[in-house]
């Protein structure tokens, strides 16, 4: 079953990094006022297979940056390259998980997971099998025929995760996906994400405003400053895998949280 899912994030030997962002700038025009500068200047690279979190205060432009990477918003300036290609529009080989689960109430769980395959015109028996496998992977076997309204918020977000993975995306973009969940469900989902990442090898960019969440799940924590956003710190998290709740109490973990907190200007 795992072999079906492991096919993503092949690490290329090419010198080009998987994700390359240089001088990304974003402003929004406002009638009668000076343009609102959301993102001043963001430059960093993402290695294939890495999980990078974008950590920053609310309204700092990290979600905007993620949407720019997703191709949903055109950047005002700068270079956005994934796999050596400039991103100027949404890419079908990306998977996006939003703040809300955004499930379609009229579709069963399985049909919701298969939605991207329908849009891409790739519905077949293999796709259905993969949908069932992914649902089993997130602990939702037996819910294929249920409707979203019958599921809790955490379960709905799991379905959204399956939907984002169904077409084997090279890049998984997640916009505060666990923000609306309670603390315990949130920790469960973080472990689930790490598990899925280990099994799929997908490259992940993950927006959050939780310091402990970002340190726990990341290879790299990219700390955004307040608006207009620049990178306040770029923290490599060298904690071993597989990670489990105990590492939250390690001194290294706390030290990394401190560093992120300092970059955010919360701690000194």
């Amino acid at each position: 079953m795992q072999s079906q899912i492991i096919e993503q994030g092949r690490s290329s030997a090419a010198p080009v990094p998987f994700g390359h962002f240089e001088g990304v700038h974003q402003h929004f025009r406002r009638p009668g006022q000076a343009p609102l500068v959301a993102i001043e200047n963001i430059t960093f690279d993402v290695k294939a297979g890495h999980l990078v979190t974008l950590l920053g205060p609310s309204g700092c432009g990290k979600t905007t940056f993620l949407k720019i990477v997703a191709g949903l918003i055109p950047a005002s300036g700068g270079t956005i390259q994934i796999n050596g290609r400039a991103v100027v529009e949404p890419q079908p080989d990306f998977g996006v998980v939003f703040q809300q689960a955004n499930l379609m109430p009229w579709r069963t769980i399985q049909a919701n997971v298969l939605f991207p395959m329908e849009i891409l015109g790739r519905t077949d028996a293999a796709a259905e099998l993969r949908a069932r496998e992914l649902l089993a992977l997130v602990g939702l076997e037996g819910f294929e025929k249920s409707y979203p309204a019958q599921l809790s918020g955490g379960m709905q977000q799991r379905v959204a995760l399956c939907r984002a993975l169904i077409h084997k995306p090279k890049l998984l973009l997640m916009d505060e996906p666990f923000g609306a969940l309670d603390e315990l469900t949130r920790m469960e989902m973080q472990d689930l994400l790490l598990d899925i990442r280990a099994k799929t090898g997908a490259t992940v960019m993950f927006v959050t405003h939780s310091i402990s969440e970002s340190v726990y799940i990341s290879d790299i924590v990219c700390v955004f400053s307040k608006r207009p956003a620049v990178i306040a710190d770029f923290i490599a998290v060298d904690l071993p895998y597989p990670r489990s709740a105990e590492i939250r109490y390690l001194p290294e973990f706390t030290e990394l949280e401190h560093r992120a907190g300092r970059a955010l200007g919360i701690t000194r």
């Binding site: 379609m104 009229w106 939605f115 019958q150």
Partner: protein, 254 residues
């Protein structure tokens, strides 16, 4: 039939029963002339004695209402889809629609009769006219109320406009469309009766007028009861269709 179904049915039945008992008591105790206000028993017996006439006259009213409603659905939904998705069509047609809607349909009915004659067609057209507006307004509202998150999801997969319409916008609008259809179907019955009042040779509206002019109040009231039953029946049919088309909306409540 679960217990809560029985309980839910109990309240309206009890409410009607209380009204009927009070009504019967009032007419008997105060010896109200049955021409002014027949008792429920009078109406029941008039209905039982004339059931074949009532059934026969129900048929044209039923057909006029259903066809008028069906026409309103068939034309109203595509119309609303076009208006909701095109700025030009919206700006051009919506003011005209609002303006024509504010003309009382009773005032137009005689003109419709001149155009379409005394037969079924004129009633069908009036039923269509009154049912059209709620369907268009609610469908157009539904088309514009697609959750932004779903549209963003579709966009992230580069879905085509047709895919977005068929797989996201239209299904998301279904609850709105059915809300409009429920209002429209009862209005369609009213439209058909308005047409029959203005000029007709049959139908429950015609029977009601005839019985009234002969001072046969129990029969007129019986026609009224049958009309109301017809409206409830058609409303129920739309609710049933809603449950079949949108099975998810019911499962969410448990």
């Amino acid at each position: 039939m679960r217990l809560h179904h029985v309980r839910n049915a109990f309240y309206p039945v009890a409410g009607i029963a209380i009204i009927l008992v009070a009504w019967q008591f009032y007419t008997q105790f105060f010896a109200i002339n049955r021409i002014v206000l027949p008792s429920p028993a009078d109406i029941f017996w008039a209905s039982a004695a004339n059931w074949n006439v009532l059934l026969r006259e129900s048929w044209p009213t039923f057909v006029e209402s259903v066809l008028g409603f069906a026409l309103a659905v068939a034309i109203g939904i595509p119309f609303a889809v076009c208006v909701a998705n095109s700025r030009v069509l919206n700006l051009t047609l919506y003011p005209i629609l609002i303006a024509t809607q504010s003309i009382p349909k009773v005032a137009v009915a005689p003109i419709i009769l001149v155009w379409f004659g005394l037969g079924m067609q004129s009633k069908l057209v009036i039923a269509f006219l009154v049912a059209f507006f709620p369907i268009v307004v609610d469908t157009a509202a539904g088309m514009r109320a697609t959750p932004a998150g779903l549209l963003e999801l579709a966009r992230s997969l580069r879905a085509s406009p047709l895919q977005i319409f068929l797989k996201v916008q239209f299904p998301a609008a279904l609850p709105f469309i059915f809300a409009g259809a429920k209002v429209a179907v009862t209005l369609a019955v009213i439209g058909a009766v308005i047409g029959e009042f203005i000029g007709s040779m049959n139908g429950l509206g015609n029977l009601l007028l005839t019985a009234n002019s002969q001072l046969d109040s129990p029969l007129a009231w019986a026609a009224l009861v049958w009309l109301s039953a017809l409206g409830v029946l058609l409303f129920g049919a739309v609710v049933l269709a809603e449950r079949i088309v949108m099975p998810w909306s019911e499962t969410g409540h448990h």
